[in-house]
């Protein structure tokens, strides 16, 4: 894939790679393999991931500490004969902590910060609300990118279409936090205590009264408290920040990779991601097709040869040969199907950035040696130019 050729040999620093795709396609593994390849090529690289499998986390030396960058030790790599010209770091993102940090950055007083962090409404939004994790991943990416500590940052995004919603419009999340109509509606109550709050809802606003009947007064009170502590200035801070994050992601140095496996569901998700990236004018770096069954026979000529070879065989016992042939044909059929589906994806997207295939391996990928095997396929091997 031409656009990933910078992974072969160290080039100018400042690149961002953002991996998107459906759940279960091996996005985290691919991200880690890209990171390893980049470090080998000489980049000082950070892999930023959200929820790695435990063994992969162990491999990368992440000891369950959220939001701290940790270096994958050179000795560990050396033991496997890997001597990176660069350095490899990994970090497990803690979205809630990132959100708390963001609030802290824009709070004017410790008291307000405390009020917000202990508010039930805020706690719900910052930990459980769909979209928060995606947005916080971008926030962290921006924060680290800005420091210019790394030559290359690889972000493993959460497996969710919302990852892109919030890329395009971070302000959507901000609206949920403090949209103006709600703020205006609640404002008269900011100064009142609990009893006063109750009286006012009862007397002055039929809407609030109706809502308090539905949801209970505590809920409204939580929201009012939150909005009082998180003032306009804080939201303005959030908004500016969101605009900067967005700008960075549209920079030519930020490349989006779409990871998939050759199954109908994952590929249709990949096509979805591709079209969304195009619509929103992000830089599409290419598809990475993971767990593709290798194809040994591509032409009918070799099929004839195969039959002749089977017939002429004297090396293998007939029963074993039989089984080997059946198994080979099964896997070959899967490989053909993989191939057709990948061609289908190209036909649907006309993707000119290309496709990189990573073959199916027999076992789980979690050791550094496994990652090295995967990373080879990112820069060489069956490269496919776009059509």
């Amino acid at each position: 894939m031409r656009r990933l050729s910078f992974l072969k040999k160290k080039g100018p620093p400042g690149k961002l790679l953002i991996c998107c795709g459906a759940g279960g396609v091996g996005k985290t593994t691919v991200s880690a393999a890209i990171g390893l390849q980049a470090a080998l090529a000489g980049y000082k690289t950070l892999v930023l991931t959200i929820d790695p499998a435990k063994r992969l986390a162990d491999t990368l030396g992440m000891k369950g500490l959220g939001n701290v960058e940790q270096r994958v030790s050179a000795q560990r790599l050396a033991r496997l004969g890997l001597e990176p010209a660069g350095e490899l770091y990994a970090m497990m993102l803690d979205p809630k902590q990132t959100f708390d940090d963001l609030v802290e950055r824009y709070s004017h007083s410790d008291e307000r910060l405390k009020t917000i962090l202990s508010n039930r409404y805020y706690q719900h939004i910052s930990s459980a609300l769909a979209g928060t994790h995606e947005y916080m991943a971008m926030e962290k990416l921006y924060e680290i990118y800005q420091k210019r500590t790394y030559d290359l940052i690889v972000l493993d995004t959460p497996p969710n279409r919302r990852a892109l919603d919030f890329l395009d419009a971070p302000e959507r999340l901000l609206n949920l936090l403090g949209s103006r109509p709600v703020r205006l509606l609640m404002k008269p109550y900011f100064g009142l205590g609990r009893v006063g709050f109750y009286l006012f809802t009862a007397v002055t606003s039929p809407i609030l009264q109706a809502i308090s009947r539905l949801l209970g007064l505590e809920m409204l009170k939580d929201i009012a408290d939150f909005l009082r502590a998180a003032d306009d200035e804080m939201f303005e801070g959030f908004r500016q920040r969101a605009a900067q994050v967005r700008q960075i992601l549209r920079d030519p140095d930020a490349l989006f990779l779409v990871v998939a496996t050759p199954s109908p569901a994952a590929l249709s998700e990949a096509a979805f991601f591709y079209h969304r990236l195009q619509d929103q004018k992000f830089n599409f770096g290419g598809f990475i097709l993971n767990r593709v069954h290798p194809r040994y026979m591509s032409s009918p000529v070799s099929e004839g040869e195969f039959t002749r070879w089977v017939e002429a065989n004297e090396v293998l016992p007939p029963r074993l040969l039989d089984k080997l042939v059946t198994n080979f044909q099964t896997i070959e059929r899967i490989a053909e199907s993989d191939d057709r589906q990948i061609q289908g994806l190209l036909a649907k997207t006309g993707a000119s950035a290309g496709i990189q295939r990573i073959p199916h391996f027999e076992t789980d990928i979690h050791g550094l040696a496994d990652l090295k095997k995967v990373s080879q396929f990112l820069v060489e091997g069956n490269e496919e130019a776009g059509r």
Binding site: G24, I223, Y296, L324, E332
Partner: protein, 314 residues
């Protein structure tokens, strides 16, 4: 497998929840049951398997004896507001305003409880003439685990938070149904791979401890047959080693041996994870054979349904 009234199907993303839910529905319909298939994931994934473009927001027949519906949590919340706020002017102002979105977002579980409330209503529905249940079986293609679990946890969380009022009574009713062991069960879908297995074991534990919902069946999806005996595997490995020493060989031998290695390795891994599942989870298991198809289609669901009916007690 089909002797419940309400089945929630969940599992990690990408393990085949939607396909298994659909195939179960087809199997139940072959037993003569009237089925309602409910999509609460929001991405309209059920439609393709039945050759439809989309599933609507009211139950509609998509296959003989099977109706399907997609619950839009926002619409469910709106309906709810209109049911309980008698003053339509105020109800309209609430639902049209951004306010409702904001509040529904900020109230943990409100959308989920409204969704579950709708499922509860369908469960109660009876035919006017015969007074029999309108649906014999409701299958819910629940959100991916993590989300799926918190989805089912909601009634309990809400019970703790809300003192009185209409939501409380709705929540009580839903909770009663979820914990009704005769009527309701949780089925899990997984793959014989590391992450899905770990997550499935987590869901199982949480289901027992937190939800007090029993897990009925575990579907292990995409299982490969055992292609070689242990002795044959050893022989294949030996021959592969020999090939490495002597590369002068010979036609397609390396090819067939390498593809055998793929099958053997995969099967070893599969056995390992199936064993781990069975050691950690007390439930019934069914292995669904791997099948690579280019598209999900009705005939595929029918084949799967037939296999299910052959291999599990109905």
């Amino acid at each position: 497998m089909f002797n419940k009234r309400l089945i929630f199907v969940t599992g990690k993303g990408g393990v085949g929840k939607t396909t298994i839910s659909s195939a179960m529905a087809v199997a139940a319909s072959k037993l003569g049951k009237k089925v309602l298939l409910v999509d609460v994931g929001g991405d309209d994934a059920l439609a393709a398997g039945f050759g439809k473009d989309t599933i609507g927001h009211t139950p509609k027949e998509i296959y003989s004896l099977i109706s399907a519906v997609r619950v839009d949590p926002r619409m469910a919340v709106n309906e709810y507001v209109h049911t309980f706020i008698k003053n339509q002017f105020i109800a309209n102002r609430i639902t049209r305003n951004r306010l409702l979105d904001y509040l529904a977002t900020g109230t943990p579980g409100l959308r989920e409880i409204m969704t579950l409330g709708k499922i509860w209503l369908w469960e109660q529905e009876r035919d006017a003439a015969s007074d029999a249940y309108h649906y014999d079986l409701i299958i819910v293609d629940a959100p991916a685990a993590g989300h799926g679990l918190s989805f089912l946890q909601v009634p309990q969380v809400l019970m703790d938070m809300i003192g009185i009022g209409p939501i409380k009574s709705q929540t009580e009713a839903v909770l009663g149904l979820l914990q009704h062991r005769k009527k309701t069960s949780l089925y899990l879908v997984t793959l014989p791979e590391e992450l899905p297995v770990i997550e499935t074991i987590q869901i199982y534990k949480a289901a027992a401890e937190v939800l007090a919902m029993p897990v009925g069946w575990v579907f292990i999806n995409a299982c490969h047959p055992k292609a070689f005996t242990t002795r044959e595997s050893l022989e294949i490995k030996r021959r592969l080693r020999a090939l490495r020493r002597d590369a002068s060989n010979t036609g397609f031998l390396p090819t067939v041996l390498l593809s055998a290695r793929i099958a053997i390795g995969r099967r070893v891994q599969q056995d390992h994870y199936v064993k781990r599942l069975k050691e950690s989870i007390k439930a019934q298991f069914v292995e669904i054979p791997f099948r690579r198809s280019d598209v999900v289609a009705v005939c595929y669901l029918e084949e799967m349904a037939e296999e299910l009916l052959r291999s599990v007690p109905t």
